[in-house]
Amino acid sequence: MPGTVRLGGRARRLRRSRPGPVTLLSGGILALMAAAALFGTWVAPYDPAAQDLALGATMPSWAHWAGTDELGRDVLSRCLAGARSALLWPLVVALGTCAMSTSLGLLAGYRRGWIDAVMMRVVDLLIAMPGLLMLIVLVGVLGGGIGWAVLAMAVLFTPGDIRVVRSLTMAQRELAYAEAARTLGLSRTRIMFRHLLPNIAPTVVAGALLSFVAALVALSGLSFLGIGLPAGTPDWGLMIEENRGLLDLNPWAAVVPAALVTIAATAATLLGDQLFERLSDA
């Protein structure tokens, strides 16, 4: 074509090269954390629940690399074991949000008409609500179980993603390949999931990782407020809350889990960015 925009050096490099250092680093960190979530309880040097009241809170030593908390429990072991609940529940939220927003967004964007109108008004309503406050109230009223927290979070995260998926779907359905599929008389489901979905997948994947990050941070926050997981469970958010009084005796007991939450969130965000660029370029 005359006046074709040539790909800049950056886009071209991304496609051709192997994964860059940022992708490798953030992917590696998340892989390590996932390994901790799966095998953490076996690798941990101590039983994460084993108490040593005589020892109490201590600073890091050769025996306890990250020290111990008030009850003499090994902080490192608890962090390793805590990876499971810290990562599992956000993963559930992310997958649930992704599944709901993708199917509803595709439906609204492809079908339009009254389905779209009704869905968008509900979405508007949900988006207008103050999210975190609703979450706290809801989970508090419903009895504070982690199940409710996860469900409420998924319901709160879905509307924003529906909008994104819907607008992308609306753009894709006007393209010639989608019209050709309609002309062939393919079923709606087939057009939505076989034709349109793969073309908006980069955004869906990036969105899922962002939901994961938001859920990770929000769940840690809920744990910190004492909502969600029962006290005593090894979990990063809960550890921050339980150990924040120990800042003078062993600050690491709160700093290490807090750092883990931050690092996991950052790594997932960066990975989402990189994945988006790679997928949309492929």
Binding site: M1, P2, G3, T4, V5, R6, G8, G9, R12, L175, A176, Y177, A178, E179, A180, A181, R182, T183, L184, G185, L186, R194, H195, P198, N199, A201
Partner: protein
């Protein structure tokens, strides 16, 4: 005034490789080439506006000032004042928030007055001074191009580079803008470098034409001489592939193969792999541009290369598009079709018919409603009124059909869309797309993927490829194969060759003609290009503002147009 010597544009590979060009004051020089030939990059290199990551090498002198490697500050003094760039797309090149007058005032030297702006607008044929106060969205495409031209001329440049200035415009507007460009150029005595993919435009407007191929100039000379006796096989190939407006050609011959990358052919003749005349000398060294006669240059080692592929061969046979049986019920019967979008009437009662096995051309400019008509027949739009009958079935409202009828309609009518870059799903391999389509055919009628690819002249191995690995022409072939997979009785072609290069266009047109001939598929062929209609359609329907203004056999409509609008269309391309 403009002189380039050995201009190269280099990114992580060589894109333009050695362009020598001169433009004198008062001269119009054409730079012609297909997509990927490097003509737009050359234009940008001349004004120092290359995209990031690319750099120019060699020498570009504008009135004695070296542009290559010049500082941004120096370039700012050159751009607009000495050399100005007019771009292709009138829809995006004006700032939507500024008025027409503001665009011109921006580059006017000295104090700007309302009279001066009105004078500048009058120069480009806008006599209504109120236009200065309008925003781009209030102007038509042609008006915008005029305003853009006035803005480009505001700094009184010595050289105007026009990069595809008419490509996005309708035929009649195109004609007006080119005439305007010519008039302004003569009045001001400035140099014009016209960049275009359209050979006809270049030959009609330019004093000299340079043909670019794979990042280099392969031939140069006066337009008329080039058209009459091309000295490079590539030029003659292009001319041979050009469909004629005047007569239907027996066979449209495209150039085999595709354009190589400039860096792959650095040391040889770039055209060698596609040339019938290739000899040892072609691949031993790169043939230099050598003079042959007055003002003529060629990069071919042969002396009589032009005779190899006779341009516009003597094929006056008008029998090519055969009309189907005119008796019996037509395959497609459209009656009084109406469709409105808000206040805009897209179709105001259109009637036409297509007989079985017949190809009908549907001609009209943008906004004439031709695409709305196609989409109504395809069931992508539900018309407000009128009737569409397809093979005896009323398909006006697709939703009213029962599932069995609907399945039948999907097998009766298929479509080839305009834009090859979106007509295939980028996430699906060619094989998967074709298999999906072929599974929709009636059970006894299924055609295998390999057979479909063979039908459109592609190797079976292409089934494993994704659209991204295909060229525009190849994608369009796949799209045609997909449409044919259900063995439709009617194929709607919505500008299927409008986005393709000339040499590729010839292949695709020839393919579609063969399909009409061999498979007996009826076609409704939508296009704005009268030359294309001449080659493919037995009958032609002319659409203007949602109404049929003329209808008849193609030769009657094009040779003896009855309606004023058709006459204007025909005279615009002659």
């Amino acid at each position: 005034m403009l002189e380039t010597r050995g201009l190269r544009v280099v990114g992580d590979r060589v894109l333009v490789d050695g362009v020598d060009l001169t433009v004198a004051a008062g001269e119009t020089v054409g730079l012609v080439g297909e997509s990927g030939s490097g003509k737009s990059l050359t234009a940008r290199a001349l004004v120092g506006l290359l995209p990031r990551g690319l750099r120019a090498e060699g020498s570009v002198e504008v009135g004695g000032t070296q542009v290559v490697g010049a500082s941004e500050r120096l370039l700012r003094g050159v751009r607009g004042r000495r050399i100005s760039l007019l771009m292709q797309d009138p829809f995006t090149m004006l700032n939507p928030l500024s008025t027409a007058g503001a665009h011109i005032a921006e580059t006017l030297p000295g104090r700007t007055s309302r009279q001066e702006i009105a004078r500048r607008l009058a120069e480009v044929g806008i006599d209504d001074p109120a236009v200065a106060g309008r925003h781009p969205f209030q102007l038509s495409g042609g008006m915008r191009q005029r305003v853009a031209l006035a803005a480009a001329l505001a700094g009184d440049p010595e050289l105007l580079i026009a990069d595809e200035p008419t490509t996005a415009l309708d035929a009649t507007t195109q004609h007006e803008i080119l005439a305007l460009l010519r008039r302004v150029q003569e009045a001001r005595g400035m140099g014009v470098l016209l960049i275009t993919h359209d050979l006809r435009v270049a030959f009609a407007v330019c004093d000299r034409v340079a043909v670019m191929y794979a990042g280099r100039v392969v031939e140069q000379g006066p337009g008329a001489e080039l058209a009459a006796a091309p000295a490079h096989p590539y030029t003659s190939g292009l001319l041979g592939a050009l469909p004629s407006v005047e007569r239907a050609m027996e066979r449209l011959v495209g150039i085999p193969g595709s354009v190589p990358r400039a860096d792959e052919v650095a040391g040889v003749c770039a055209f060698a792999t596609r040339c019938d005349l290739v000899a040892a000398a072609c691949t031993e060294a790169r043939p230099p541009l050598r003079p042959i006669g007055r003002d003529r240059l060629t990069a071919c080692v042969h002396d009589a290369a032009g005779t190899a592929r006779p341009p516009l061969a003597e094929t006056a046979s008008l029998t090519v598009p055969t009309a189907g049986p005119a008796d019996g019920e037509p395959l497609l019967h459209v009656e009084g079709l109406r469709k409105r979008y808000g206040a805009h009437t897209a179709l105001g009662g259109v009637s036409l018919h297509v007989n079985p096995g017949e190809t009908v051309g549907l001609v009209g400019e943008s906004g004439s409603g031709k695409t709305t008509l196609a989409r109504s027949v395809l069931g992508l739009v539900t018309p407000d009124g009128g009737r569409i009958r397809l093979a005896g079935l009323d398909i006006t409202d697709r939703a009213a059909l029962d599932p069995r009828e609907r399945a039948r309609v999907h097998r009766l009518v298929q479509c080839v869309f305009q834009d090859p870059s979106t007509s295939l799903n980028p996430a699906m391999t060619v094989g998967a797309a074709l298999a999906e389509a072929s599974a929709r055919a009636a059970p006894g009628d299924r055609i295998g993927v390999a057979e479909l690819l063979e039908l459109v002249g592609l190797p079976a191995a292409y089934a494993a490829r994704r659209p991204k690995a295909l060229s525009g022409g190849q994608r369009q072939r796949v799209a045609i194969a997909r449409a044919l997979a259900v063995r439709p009785a009617l194929l709607i072609c919505d500008e299927p060759v409008a986005s393709l290069d000339v040499s590729v266009q010839a292949h695709v047109l020839e393919l579609l003609r063969g399909i009409g001939r061999d498979l007996g598929t009826g076609m409704l062929f939508i296009t704005h290009d009268l030359a294309v209609v001449r080659q493919i359609a037995a009958r032609t329907v002319v659409l203007l503002k949602g109404a049929v203004v003329e209808e008849g056999t193609t030769s009657t409509v094009l040779d003896a147009p009855a309606h004023d609008y058709t006459r204007r269309l025909v005279s615009a391309v002659r």
